[in-house]
């Protein structure tokens, strides 16, 4: 029996595993890198052990440190989550050697599936359909007899790292070289695998579970075809492209695959599904998948609980062997990334992270209000999953949950995800891997509809805050004047746009203009956190959150993140250039610059000696020495110009 479980992972999956473990009465241990010291999963764990450093190779990939942490805390089992050490057979063996239960398949099963070529041969033999392909160890010659297009990918590891499509022989060498480099850095092995490439297929995978009594069953398929840079971003179960017959075929193939390797625990058999319904084995992921929650929601099962039961030697319970699909579940991965900039990972402080708890919505998050998104790890903030009676209902709920979420401080792919969930082709089930390339409009932000009104809401919330914080006259009408005059103005920046909101409260109501354009806005109420406005007869409530010089506005017509434009420039940025004068009479002892020199602010230019003290005259700004009037030994008078430094204009 497992009594204390060490979770050798981070982020949302560590928290998710711990929640189930704790619900089952199992104590939990976290390991954490330095940037993760304040992460929610560390706080959730009963005990936590630091892994010094930041990079994965120094921390979460250090099998020795993880096992030492288990020993130090008296843990009797290790859950590897996904990624990191989860598909490392050596780690599984080390755990066994240390007397720790490894929550996952046997080391041999991991090893056999870790090598894609070996896995494929094994599947081929077991009657599972496979794609033609070849294994290319480090140093091996490039094959010359391939049918293009060909996919080049890391032989060990997953997640799409190092994958490349090659359409002609001449591009092969570069692709293989690049894939090797990335594979080596991510997984510690530079072996690559070449395989026939199916154009715009669907990515369909089957969840399997095996117990230590030889039973293997499948828990139906998931479709994960919508990917960016070979990373899944939308996953669902069941697949809109799979009917009952195909489901049975896929399930049978997956079970056959599992039985062929004596699979125990939860695993995933991945297939590519061609348009004609034919499917080919891709690989077996010998771990819990990121997207496992969609299976959990449609089957009502807890896969982590199941993993722990199997690890404890129990047979699969009847609710697993007799599982059925109930409704439809869709998951999206919310990433900290700048989609229009090419999915560039984004970092920063997440001042707020709040996803509305709509019925049927599940949030598996690795972050909370105030979390810092660092550049060290995968930029996934959370998985948001919705379960509904039908696919369209699940999509609708999920889209609303995301659209209404308050996500402040870090750029995310939220708009892309909402756009997909509300797109006609997606809703019609047209979700092959070519889906995103066919929809470039989802990747570029449209006109920021409602941004002006959100700026007004931001200004009125700030106004309410000013009044609430006023030390004197707090109860008087905001901005009251007995004689007219200019309105109150406040500036906001959003990307490269600047908005100036001008407003005044008149006896007749609110007068407001954005960039000089009057808006027909009536104020219903304003507090520092909430502003209710009526625009053109439509009343809307905006939630406002200010943090670190930024204002975040969430409304029914969208969200904005504004940089507050300060009323006054930072004085440090407006230092004045000009003549440098002698502060007192004295003798020049050193001249440290020459006319024409480029100098940095604070650089010593001239040293004077007066009254037995040395006085340094320094450049007031970054600039160029345009005049230099003294040399060593000169006597100077007070206020005599020594040099002139001019800022480059």
């Amino acid at each position: 029996m497992i009594t204390k479980l060490l979770v050798a992972n981070r982020g949302e999956i560590a928290a998710r595993v711990m929640r189930t473990a704790q619900a089952l009465g199992i104590d939990t241990v976290a390991v954490y890198s330095d940037p993760d010291a304040d992460a929610p999963f560390v706080a959730l764990a009963d005990e936590a052990v630091r892994l010094p450093g930041a990079s994965p190779t120094d921390t979460y990939l250090r099998a020795d440190l993880v096992i030492a942490a288990a020993r130090a805390t008296g843990a009797d089992a290790v859950h590897p989550g996904y990624g990191f050490l989860s598909e490392n057979a050596g780690f599984a063996r080390d755990c066994a050697a240390a007397g720790l239960t490894f929550v996952g398949p046997t080391p041999d099963a991991i090893a056999s599936m870790g090598s894609k070529l070996e896995a494929k041969a094994m599947m081929d033999a077991a009657g599972v359909p496979v794609l033609p392909g070849a294994f290319l160890p480090e140093g091996a010659d490039l094959p010359t007899d391939l049918d293009f297009p060909v996919l080049v990918k890391a032989a060990f590891g997953g997640g799409g790292r190092g994958m490349r499509i090659v359409r002609r022989q001449s591009d092969l060498a570069d692709a293989v070289e690049g894939a090797r480099r990335e594979a080596a850095s991510a997984f510690g092995d530079g072996t690559v695998f070449l395989e026939r490439y199916v154009e715009d297929p669907r990515h369909v995978e089957v969840q399997i579970v095996g117990d230590s009594h030889g039973e293997v069953v499948h828990l139906f398929e998931r479709e994960c075809s919508i990917q960016r840079r070979y990373q899944k971003i939308v996953e669902e179960s069941p697949s809109p492209a799979v009917d009952a017959t195909l489901r049975a075929e896929l399930g049978a193939a997956a079970v056959a695959a599992g039985k062929a390797i004596g699979y125990t625990g939860a695993g995933t058999v991945e297939f590519v599904l061609d348009r004609d319904g034919s499917f080919f084995f891709l690989e077996v992921n010998t771990r819990l998948q990121v997207e496992h929650p969609v299976t959990e929601l449609v089957t009502g099962l807890d896969l982590v609980a199941l993993q722990l039961r199997v690890a404890e030697g129990h047979p699969l319970p009847p609710e697993v062997t007799g599982a059925r699909i109930d409704g439809h579940a869709i998951e999206v991965r919310l990433y900290a990334e700048d989609v229009p900039a090419g999915y560039l990972p984004a970092t920063g402080t997440l001042h707020r992270f709040a996803i509305p708890a709509l019925p049927g919505v599940r949030v598996d998050a690795g972050v909370t209000d105030g979390s810092v998104v660092s550049p060290h790890y995968d930029p996934m903030l959370a998985k948001v999953i919705a379960h509904g009676p039908t696919r369209t209902e699940a999509a609708r709920t999920l889209a609303r949950a995301l659209a209404q979420a308050g996500i402040h401080g870090v750029t995310t792919n939220r708009d892309l995800l909402v756009g997909i969930l509300r797109d006609d082709e997606f809703l019609a089930g047209g979700t092959d891997t070519g889906y995103l390339p066919r929809h470039p409009e989802l990747l570029t932000p449209g006109a920021p509809a409602g941004e002006q009104v959100r700026a007004v809401a931001a200004a009125l919330a700030a106004q309410a805050q000013h009044r609430a914080e006023a030390r004197v006259l707090p109860d008087l009408p905001s901005g009251w004047r007995n004689v007219g005059g200019p309105p109150q103005t406040v500036g906001y920046r959003s990307d490269d746009r600047t908005l100036e909101v001008a407003y005044s409260f008149r006896r007749s109501g609110l007068d407001v203009a954005v960039d000089g354009e009057p808006l027909d806005v009536a104020l219903v109420s304003a507090s520092p956190a909430e502003v209710v406005l009526t625009l053109d007869g439509v009343r809307r409530t905006y939630r406002i959150h200010r943090a670190a010089g930024r204002t975040f506005v969430d409304g029914p017509d969208g969200s904005s993140a504004f940089d507050d434009v300060p009323r006054f420039a930072d004085p440090n940025a407006v230092a004045h250039a000009g003549s440098l004068l002698a502060p007192m009479p004295g003798t020049v002892v050193r001249v440290l610059a020459a006319s024409g020199d480029t100098v940095a602010a604070g650089a010593a230019l001239v040293v004077l000696e007066a009254m037995k003290m040395e006085h340094t005259v320094a450049a007031p700004v970054d600039g160029v020495v345009t005049e230099l009037h003294v040399s060593a030994g000169d006597q100077v008078e007070t206020r005599q110009v020594l040099a002139v430094v001019e800022e480059p204009s």
């Binding site: 106004q463 000013h466 006023a470 006259l473 009408p477 005059g485 006896r507």
Partner: protein
């Protein structure tokens, strides 16, 4: 606490016609205020902007705490004179870095911000308000100096500005000058006498004599910058304490300077979360009769002005032509004296005297709501000692040491103006509603008195009395007095601190009470309260 019950019927015809009339009067006021806001007009404002400068009201808006209220004083100064309404200077009470300050800003779009006799009176009044209420002063300086043709009315009294500035400093009331432009000759002593001076680069010009005068006086050829630029004064003369790179930077520095006063108000703080009145202040317009001869119940005004419409009346059954009682406005406790039926009799005078003494005993500020035709005349009243009783009231008002705030709601005639703490009795702030009249007596009465006196004089001299000429003279006098009783005329002469919309009365009083509480609030001690 007793809650006032309004008997006003907002659906009545009287209400509607009263309101209509008041809205017309207010529209006339707004028209005049717009003139003050326009300053030198569009052309000069644009020229000012083209020089990279901000109009004075924009400087003010940047200086004040965002969204804080501002009470502008004497906006109609110089009304009815040859000078622009507002008198080329803006004054008022506003909040800077959380501190209530008096702000005095030249309007350089009006004849270069030159000072005329009305600008001077307005400036001196603002400085007086600062001194009486212990409010720091911020000068927004950009003025070409004296309006030279009026120097005879200006030069001698203008010296008082510098006297006031340094006296404020000696009373530990800080003074700040933000110099945006010309500040020359006498004007140079504004930054000179202030505790803090901020000069704007390549804009401030602070010198006793400019290049032409220097050339004339000594033959020296000099330029503006070396005589009085910000750079020179910041680096060489040391007149400038802070070098501002531009106007906004000067305003930023001004706010920073005030934040370092570590200002503490010395009066007691207001009660928090004061309840608003139970009746809508908007309805005040419907209760004001268009004819000043028709009295109205000031309790209806109080029901729309004081916190929670709560008013505890003192001597409600005695001297009922004057309403006295206790209330609070925006959390500040006050005593209120309000004329009800215009005339002050001996009873009213004695009641007022006692009430003023009571307010002094409890250090409670007083609000005077004027609507008075003066003390009663006639044999019975003279024989009953109305002069002595009126004298008691004027004595009590004069020697009362708690802050007074006075509002002329409709009329302020005769010695009633004195007894109800008119201008000569140093109310800390005094305002009028736009329909209010103020004079020694009503225009018709005054003209009639003149006619009777004329007739008596002719009779005693045995001369014939020209009835036709008398009627014409009477009409002319009545018209002149009527015009000179008008609130705009009175305010133009700086006999009050401004005309306010009646609906803003609660706000104006709240802001004024907060300002007077910058100083300790302490009543007169020495005698007990005389039972009159």
């Amino acid at each position: 606490m007793a809650v006032l019950t309004s008997l006003l019927d907002p659906s009545s015809e009287t209400f509607a016609s009263n309101r209509k009339q008041q809205l017309e009067v207010i529209a006339q006021l707004d028209e005049q205020l717009e003139l003050a806001v326009a300053g030198g007009g569009e052309r000069y404002t644009q020229r000012h902007r083209d020089r990279g400068k901000l109009p004075v009201r924009e400087r003010l808006t940047l200086l004040l705490d965002p969204d804080s209220p501002f009470l502008e004083l004497s906006p109609l100064a110089a009304w009815g004179t040859e000078f622009t309404v507002g008198a080329s200077v803006l004054t008022g009470i506003g909040v800077v870095s959380g501190v209530e300050c008096v702000i005095i800003g030249h309007d350089p779009t009006v004849r270069g911000g030159a000072m005329n006799p009305y600008s001077l009176r307005k400036t001196l009044r603002a400085l007086e308000i600062a001194r009486l209420n212990r409010l720091p002063v911020i000068n927004l300086v950009e003025s070409g100096g004296a309006d030279l043709p009026t120097q005879a009315d200006l030069f001698v009294p203008a010296g008082r500005i510098f006297h006031e500035l340094t006296e404020l400093s000696s009373m530990a009331i800080p003074t700040v000058a933000l110099v945006f432009g010309n500040s020359t000759a006498g004007g140079a002593y504004v930054p000179g006498m202030c505790d803090y001076a901020v000069l704007v680069d390549r804009a401030a010009k602070v010198f006793l004599g400019g290049p032409p005068l220097v050339k004339m006086a000594t033959g020296e050829t000099a330029d503006d910058e070396s005589l009085g630029g910000a750079e020179m004064h910041s680096r060489v003369s040391g007149l400038s304490d802070y070098f501002a790179t531009d106007e906004r930077d000067a305003i930023r520095l001004g706010r920073e300077i005030v934040s370092r006063f570590h200002w503490r108000k010395l009066g007691p703080p207001p009660a928090e979360n004061a309840a608003p009145p139970r009746y809508d202040p908007e309805e005040i317009l419907g209760l004001l009769p268009p004819d000043p001869k028709v009295p109205f119940d000031p309790r209806e005004v109080l029901a729309r002005t004081v916190d929670g419409s709560e008013f505890d009346e003192y001597k409600p059954l005695y001297g009922t032509s004057l309403v006295t009682g206790w209330a609070s406005v925006h959390g500040y406790p006050v005593g209120v004296l309000a004329n009800h039926r215009g005339v002050l009799f001996s009873e009213e005078a004695k009641k007022a005297s006692e009430f003023i003494l009571l307010a002094n005993q409890t250090d409670t500020p007083l609000i005077f709501l004027q609507n008075t035709t003066g003390y009663m005349v006639g044999t019975d009243y003279e024989q009953g000692g109305i002069i002595k009783d009126g004298a008691k009231m004027i004595n009590a008002v004069t020697n009362s040491a708690v802050p007074h705030l006075t509002i002329n709601m409709a009329s302020s005639f005769g010695a009633g103006n004195y007894g109800m703490s008119g201008r000569a009795y140093d109310p800390r702030l005094m305002f009028a509603w736009p329909g209010a009249k103020l004079a020694v007596m009503g225009a018709a009465q005054l003209a009639g008195v003149m006619s009777i006196v004329g007739r008596a004089s002719a009779q005693s001299q045995g001369k014939p009395f020209d009835e036709e000429a008398d009627a014409a003279r009477t009409r002319a006098i009545e018209a002149q007095i009527e015009a000179e009783s008008h609130s705009f005329f009175i305010s133009g002469k700086l006999y009050d601190d401004g005309i306010v919309d009646p609906r803003d009365t609660r706000t104006v009083l709240g802001l004024s009470l907060s300002a007077v509480h910058s100083n300790p609030v302490a009543g007169r001690r020495g005698y007990g309260t005389f039972r009159m």
